[in-house]
């Protein structure tokens, strides 16, 4: 590695060795981290990550009490203790539904706060994509478990790049990595320069062809071509961010290492959650760690400025603490098939994972400029009232921390207003029912 790159990492307090150790993926992250300083200097706006876990939270044991020195976590958030200075909890938000009665399929509304006439379709872009667009990027949407709870495909994704255009969550780490950091090319020097140049020429030309083609279309077809066009532009941007030297470095460890390690870890095709006994706890945890690391690396390096991580689809049942029967299935546990404490302990497990993700960003020196939000598609027992959320990070953006917010029906869309404000989008509106943001959650930095 060149001296320039060593300096880059040192300056940003980037503990690459730690991150690589966590990943177990060898030299595969060399290139993206090496780019971090350029990307960061060019991207002063806030970054955003949403972490989704299914089935709501055990509310009475979730969140925190008090502010400042009196700020204290309840059981479900105890895993966040190491980063308590970066954390705030919010309870009592409402995700107002068009449905007469709410249900898990409200996940289409979770990050959009607007729904279409068709039940499985959202009618607006989600907050992650809105923030991504501030840098003309697309959000990186990852998933740990491809769960297909009761085979309802609608439950499997939560990000919408536009009205009716869903962004599917990726559960294969190989694909996630490639989307975040590109497909590195063999060779080096002038050869790599040429290849990058040639790829750019193709993508430039393609945007013209897509635009011409799009102009013949109407309605939904136009939306589809817009999504296509945005995807090509995103690939173009990734290519633009990849300097020839980065590509050379990457090719040394590169994708082959990732593929081999992911395969060795059994991560190439995570099983579906077909019911009790169908999943492996260690694989679940390991796979989650890898996906988190890819997402945080993408954010830290500036390859992406927004993303989501779904641990499982809405209503899914895999219980990260184990169990074989219905009483241990996360979904059924949330419906009272096990003592309430069991459910809360699942929340606690995920709070530990969130802590891990935040620590990665902290180590990379970007947590203060990144807002992480943790939430679920429902609050408790299918209710869309009294939602609980956790925010972590974003202090340099003006996010207030070590606070406990309790509301009685404030709109979820106001949380996204506060988040978008923190990330550099000044609008007081987001989706439906917004009213200027959550009072006191964000203050201009």
């Amino acid at each position: 590695m060149s001296a320039r790159k060593e300096m880059t990492m040192k300056k940003h307090n980037l503990r690459r060795r730690d991150l690589l150790a966590g990943l177990g993926l060898g030299g595969v992250f060399l290139a993206p981290f090496a780019r971090s300083v350029k990307a960061w200097a060019a991207a002063p706006k806030g970054k955003f990550i949403f972490m989704h876990t299914p089935n709501g939270m055990a509310r009475s044991l979730f969140g925190s009490d008090g502010d400042g020195a009196a700020f204290k976590f309840r059981n479900g958030c105890m895993g966040l203790e190491p980063i308590r200075e970066q954390t705030t909890t919010i309870r009592g938000l409402t995700n107002k539904s068009q449905l007469p009665k709410p249900f898990h399929d409200q996940i289409t509304r979770l990050l959009t706060c607007v729904r279409g006439n068709s039940i499985p379709v959202a009618a607006g872009p989600s907050i992650d994509q809105v923030i991504a667009k501030t840098e003309k990027k697309q959000a990186l949407n990852l998933k740990v478990y491809r769960s297909f709870y009761r085979n309802v495909g609608t439950y499997e994704d939560l990000s919408w790049s536009d009205k009716g255009v869903k962004s599917m969550s990726i559960n294969d780490p190989r694909e996630a990595y490639k989307l975040a950091f590109g497909d590195f090319m063999p060779g080096g020097g002038a050869e790599v320069d040429n290849l990058i140049d040639q790829k750019r020429s193709m993508l430039d030309f393609l945007t013209g062809e897509i635009t011409t083609f799009r102009n013949r279309l109407t309605g939904d077809d136009r939306n589809r071509l817009d999504a296509h066009l945005n995807s090509v532009r995103s690939l173009e941007m990734r290519l633009g961010a990849l300097s020839p030297m980065d590509a050379t470095v990457a090719s040394a460890g590169g994708m082959s290492t990732l593929l081999a390690d992911a395969k060795k870890a059994g991560m190439t095709a995570p099983p579906r959650d077909g019911g009790p006994g169908a999943y492996d706890l260690k694989a679940f945890s390991d796979h989650g760690d890898v996906q988190m690391d890819i997402l945080t690396a993408a954010i830290a390096t500036g390859a992406r400025n927004a993303g989501t991580l779904m641990w499982q689809g809405a209503a899914s049942g895999a219980n990260p603490l184990g169990g074989q029967g219905q009483a241990d299935d996360h979904h059924w546990v949330s419906h009272g098939d096990a003592p309430f404490q069991v459910w809360s302990n699942i929340d606690k497990y995920y709070s530990g994972k969130l802590n891990r993700m935040a620590q990665k960003l902290k180590d990379a020196g970007v947590l203060d400029r990144t807002v992480i939000v943790w939430g679920s598609e429902i609050s408790e027992q299918h209710s869309h009232d009294n939602h609980s959320f956790v925010t972590v990070g974003g202090k340099a953006l003006g996010m207030q921390t070590m606070k406990t917010f309790s509301f009685n029906g404030a709109s979820l869309s106001d949380l996204w207003v506060s988040v978008q404000n923190a990330c550099g989008i000044p609008s007081p509106k987001f989706g439906e029912n917004s009213n200027g943001g959550i009072p006191g959650l964000w203050k201009p930095a």
Binding site: F103, I119, S167, Q198, M202, G219, D221, A227, V232, G274
Partner: protein
């Protein structure tokens, strides 16, 4: 004990399936009903349905499925990309028609663009290498204009399934020229071929016509018809013969269209594609994701899911093509084609997908292990899943998203706490439980159909008893259909449904949706559905004949445009 499917189901079934009363202008009517069409050598009269706007679907574009994209690259370059490197296609589980080629679910996302980019470059490399081997002028340092035109004309037609338009040709020639100047002809050819494989003209199949509109309607071009036909029947791009027919303007002739369709259907790809339809119809397509605890199910050995999928595909092809059998045969056959792994599950002797006679408890497709395993939980059967599948696939019922609170009521209320309760006993428990009434209202239909498969365990083995208790598989269909009545099991019920008007029309909608890549509207398309279903009956339930009838409809090639 008998279960009755509740009468409310008849509401789902009461589709408006009668003709609209519009007068028709006879066989081969044009889109307005006032122009005689060309019948050529078409078998029998064409649809007498007047083609109204509401019968037609809007002009639009369809993204190629992963399979179709790979096949098209292979046909054009001779190199077959690995399909597993493309994102998996999938459909939302709403509506009655759930196939992986439904256009509404096929969009181009970032992951697609990334995969197309990579695979296209690899395929282009191979294409140019083969050109270089043949000393093609295009790989020279400075290819001449004629050479470039020839190259673009040749590969453009293969990639876009039609001749390039003048503007298009000029744009690609410009792209080639810029790159040739910089890198030479060989690299320019590689980049141009790669960019073509990523272009929307490649990725999307169009149904837009030539731009002319008559009374709000457009007619697809012959090349668009060729693509619709070829992808619809084989998942592959039009071959040389079909492209020639399109270029010669022959595909407006119903006889030519029928002959081309017949040719495609009888080929290897046509057989495979039809088998793929049935694999998806009965739920075997995704069997690879099914897992079982080997300690509980030792017969569920490594590779058996592939055997299960292969059994269904082999069975469909042998019955429909080799034995010239019918739809009825598929659902009533007392034989199948099994390998050694499946033979253990069946309790028969078999190897290498030989034809074997099945024990009397088996009956056609629905008793195949793959069908039964793919609709079960890992450790137990799922009458709900098996029942839902029956309703969607054979009665064309759209299963709504579970209502609010459904899961609340199901928890601990449908399933009794008796660990040795049979599924029917669980269901009896649920029906007797007033707190589960919300579940029972919908699940009554799911379970009643599903319990009719209970003689088969989660891997499709026959089991006459469960926990020492005799399994009752009887079912009563009482849904306002002509198939209403009592049946010994759901397989027999479905076989009977397929003999009825409702069953024929549902099957017609399913296969029509699969071929068209969009769900057929049961109301707007009612007249044509009825017409086709009658033809199916007249043909002795010949599935291939039904496909030939579908592609001859005016609605196969006419579209409307918004004012």
């Amino acid at each position: 004990m008998k279960l009755v499917v509740f009468g409310w189901l008849s509401a789902f079934l009461s589709l408006s399936l009668a003709c609209t009363g519009e007068t028709a202008s006879g066989p081969g009517a044009g889109p307005d009903g006032d122009e005689p069409g060309k019948d050529g050598n078409a078998d029998g009269p064409a649809s007498t349905c007047r083609v109204k706007d509401e019968v037609l679907v809007p002009a639009r574009v369809y993204r190629l499925s992963a399979q179709q994209w790979v096949n098209t690259v292979e046909a054009a370059t001779g190199h077959r990309p690995d399909p597993s490197r493309l994102p998996e296609d999938g459909a939302e589980t709403t509506g009655y028609s759930i196939f992986d080629n439904v256009a509404a679910a096929l969009v181009v996302q970032e992951r697609h663009v990334s995969a197309y980019h990579e695979l296209a470059l690899e395929a282009a490399e191979r294409l140019v290498a083969s050109r270089e081997k043949g000393a093609d002028c295009i790989v020279s340092q400075k290819p001449g204009k004629d050479c470039v035109d020839g190259f673009l004309g040749d590969v453009g037609k293969k990639f876009f399934r039609r001749p390039l338009g003048d503007d298009e040709r000029a744009r690609f020639a410009g792209y080639f020229g810029v790159n040739a100047q910089k890198w030479g002809g060989k690299t320019a050819a590689r980049l141009t071929a790669a960019v073509m494989m990523q272009a929307p003209q490649f990725i999307f199949r169009t149904e837009l016509g030539d731009g002319s509109v008559s009374e709000g309607r457009i007619r697809m071009t012959d090349h668009e018809v060729a693509s619709a036909l070829s992808y619809g029947l084989t998942d592959r791009p039009p071959d040389e013969l079909l492209l020639e027919a399109a270029s010669a303007g022959k595909l407006g002739d119903r006889g030519e269209l029928r002959a081309q369709a017949r040719r495609l259907l009888d080929g290897k790809d046509g057989r495979t594609k039809l088998a793929d339809f049935f694999q998806q119809l009965v739920g075997v397509k995704d069997i690879a994701t099914v897992a079982r605890d080997k300690a509980v199910f030792p017969d569920f050995v490594e590779g058996i899911t592939k055997s299960m999928a292969d059994e269904t595909s082999t069975f469909v092809q042998k019955v429909l093509f080799d034995a010239e059998g019918s739809l009825t045969d598929l659902f009533t056959a007392d034989y199948s084609f099994v390998d050694a792994k499946l033979a253990k599950i069946y309790g028969v002797t078999g190897n290498g997908f030989e034809k074997v006679s099945l024990p009397p408890e088996r009956m056609g497709l629905l008793s195949q292990p793959g069908v039964l395993a793919s609709s079960s939980h890992p450790a137990m059967t799922s009458p709900a899943m098996r029942g839902v599948r029956t309703m969607q696939k054979f009665l064309c019922m759209a299963i709504p998203t579970p209502p609010a609170g459904a899961a609340d009521q199901a928890s601990g209320k449908i399933f009794s706490n008796d660990p040795k309760a049979t599924q029917r006993e669980h269901w009896d428990f649920a029906r007797a439980n007033k707190e589960a009434s919300g579940c029972v209202a919908c699940h009554a239909a799911f379970w009643s159909y599903g319990l009719g498969f209970e003689q088969f365990d989660p891997i499709g083995r026959h089991r006459p008893t469960e926990f020492g208790k005799t399994i009752d598989t009887s079912v009563v269909l009482e849904a306002g259909t002509s198939a209403d009545g009592e049946y010994p099991n759901t397989m027999a019920m479905v076989a009977k449904i397929l003999e009825t008007r409702e069953g024929r029309e549902c099957f017609t909608m399913q296969i029509g949706s699969y071929v068209a890549g969009r769900e057929i509207d049961p109301t707007d398309g009612a007249c044509e559905v009825e017409y086709l279903a009658n033809k199916l009956q007249d043909s002795g339930y010949r599935v291939q004949d039904l496909l030939l009838d579908i592609v001859q409809l005016d609605s196969f090639r006419d579209r409307w445009v918004k004012p």
